[in-house]
């Protein structure tokens, strides 16, 4: 029981910080777009962690679904209809569909081979976005569209005009997605995923259809990833092929590891540290890439369990 209380305490702290963020960001030298980015990237990392941390399958190509969500929303608003919600829906649908179709081709692979295949599939989307100039804008990215204010029957949310309205919109989507993920993980299905992670062979012997479970987990993870991608595009009112690029996938993985793969909120912490660190480093030194690289190396060698992992171990000792 004590463990559960602690876990909830952590959730409470996270939500308290997120909900009050607009009140204190200015005072710590941040700005609204940065916090919004933290939440979006946090959602992306947590989506990846659903597969990586809770199913134990190493995807290094999740940027593809991030990008699909982003292009889905951008293309919809640009060409079909200027509605934030419609765009979001299309983006998520496209990402989920692609994941569902690609899934069967890759779920039989494991370890580095799985990673490599996911990267390679991600590159297909990268090149489509990169080359299909007339529609996607190619390397210049998709411009001339922006998120629209949200009119619900009872109220209007000025997503376009007020950065804080948009922040709370993102936070609401974030809450729904993370809530759903938590629910799935607590269900028997979620327990089965953890069982596969812990011992795939044993699960197989127990009669679990491992490949099917991995496929479902993959689709769920990619779907939430495309939500994050769509939000990212809405944040910038812009999307370009780099959203698909494999190095972006690597960034998501490092966020998970840095924060702690075995903890629900770990990836959010990792995303926050990564986003703020990169934002800071790239303003102070043109050689920020070296520092980011050093962070990768340091995390792998010294904090393989992530920050929350370290804290938890301290606490349990």
């Amino acid at each position: 029981m004590r463990f559960d209380v602690k876990k909830n305490a952590l959730s409470l702290v996270v939500w308290a910080l997120l909900l009050t963020a607009p009140l204190w960001v200015d005072r710590v030298g941040a700005y609204p777009e940065l916090v919004t980015q933290v939440v979006v990237m946090g959602l992306a990392a947590m989506s990846l962690n659903f597969l990586l941390g809770y199913t134990g399958v190493l995807s290094f190509g999740h940027a593809a679904y991030f990008g699909l969500g982003a292009y889905g929303v951008g293309l919809t608003i640009r060409y079909l209809m200027p509605s934030t919600m419609a765009g979001l829906a299309v983006g998520v649908l496209v990402g989920a569909l692609a994941a569902a179709l690609i899934g069967p081709m890759i779920v039989r692979r494991r370890g580095v081979y799985f990673a490599m295949v996911t990267i390679a599939f991600g590159q297909v989307f990268y090149f489509i976005a990169f080359r299909w100039n007339n529609v996607t804008g190619g390397d210049d990215g998709l411009t001339n569209w922006h998120r629209e204010n949200l009119h619900l029957g009872f109220a209007t949310f000025k997503l376009m005009d007020s950065p804080y309205d948009f922040y709370y919109f993102v936070l609401a989507v974030f809450a729904i997605c993370t809530g759903l993920m938590a629910l799935i993980l607590r269900s028997p299905f979620g327990r089965t995923l953890i069982a596969i992670r812990e011992n795939e062979r044993r699960s197989r012997f127990l009669g679990i259809n491992v490949n099917f479970h991995i496929w479902v987990s993959w689709v769920v993870s990619c779907t939430f990833m495309s939500v994050a991608g769509a939000l990212y595009a809405l944040l910038n009112n812009f999307v370009d092929p780099r959203a698909f690029y494999w190095s972006q996938s690597g960034v998501f993985v490092i966020m998970c590891v840095m924060g702690g793969m075995r903890s629900f909120w770990g990836p959010l912490l990792g995303a926050a540290v990564y986003v703020v660190l990169q934002d800071y480093l790239s303003s102070v030194t043109p050689n920020w890439m070296s520092f980011i690289g050093l962070v990768f190396v340091a995390v792998v060698l010294f904090f393989p369990r992530g920050f929350l992992g370290v804290l938890r171990r301290r606490a349990s000792e």
Partner: protein
Amino acid sequence: MTQLILFNVANGLIIGAFYALMAIGLSLIMSLSDVINFAHGGFLAIGAYLAYTLSPYVGFWGGLILAPILTAILGLIAEKFLISRVYGRDPLYSLLLTFGLAFIIEDSTRFIWGAQSVPYDVPGWLMSPLSADYFFLTGYRMFMVALVALAVGGLFYVMNRTRLGLRIRAGTLDLETVSVLGVNVRVLRNLNFGIGIYLAGLAGVLAAGQLGLQPTIGASVIMPSFVAIIIGGLGSLTGTLLGGLLIGVASGLTAVFLPSATEAVIYVMMALVLLIRPQGLLGEEGRF
């Protein structure tokens, strides 16, 4: 039209040979150590820049010999002090490690040699076309193919005829048994990594002869190399060689008919292979 197609097939083979050189190095490391070396492209760049720096003193030929060796030494050091630490852990960690290393290498080359392209010169007589009709068969490109053939031939000899090669091949199949039989696995993996990096360094010197030499020179070849491995089948060097040549020819041919799909086509091929023969053309089922 036929002529154009023939041109592009020949051309594709030349490029494919180059991909194969990269892919074989990657494949060696992946098979024995379970490490995807994202920094492979970075080592390619190091090889190229070292050749550029050395050639004023030791000439083109000296650079061609020394630069890959020096790159391989750097590779040995990186393996010993960084990569060997994550052996036996979740492959995730080696991935992130080499990913970070790739960042550091790219940024360091930019810091040392500048962001701007630097001119790397090869001997004049290698630079001219062999004949006016087949102008794309330049001396340099033929030389490149010959050198790739030599390197791959040499590697196959090492793998099949020497004790080291035998141990590497055995280790790929069952590392534990090899270790129990008294082979020092640490040293084995170290040397194996060195061989892989040597090939990357060599590819770098060759690339610098015909591409602009700048810090991101390696980034564009690493993905095709992955695809070559997947198509050929992980664990099979012959398969990787075949995969490299195949994707070279495929993108060469696509350039004739549908230029905008030259890159995408290799990924489509990969998807097809995964659907029809998931272990790759020459790969064995059940290994990964």
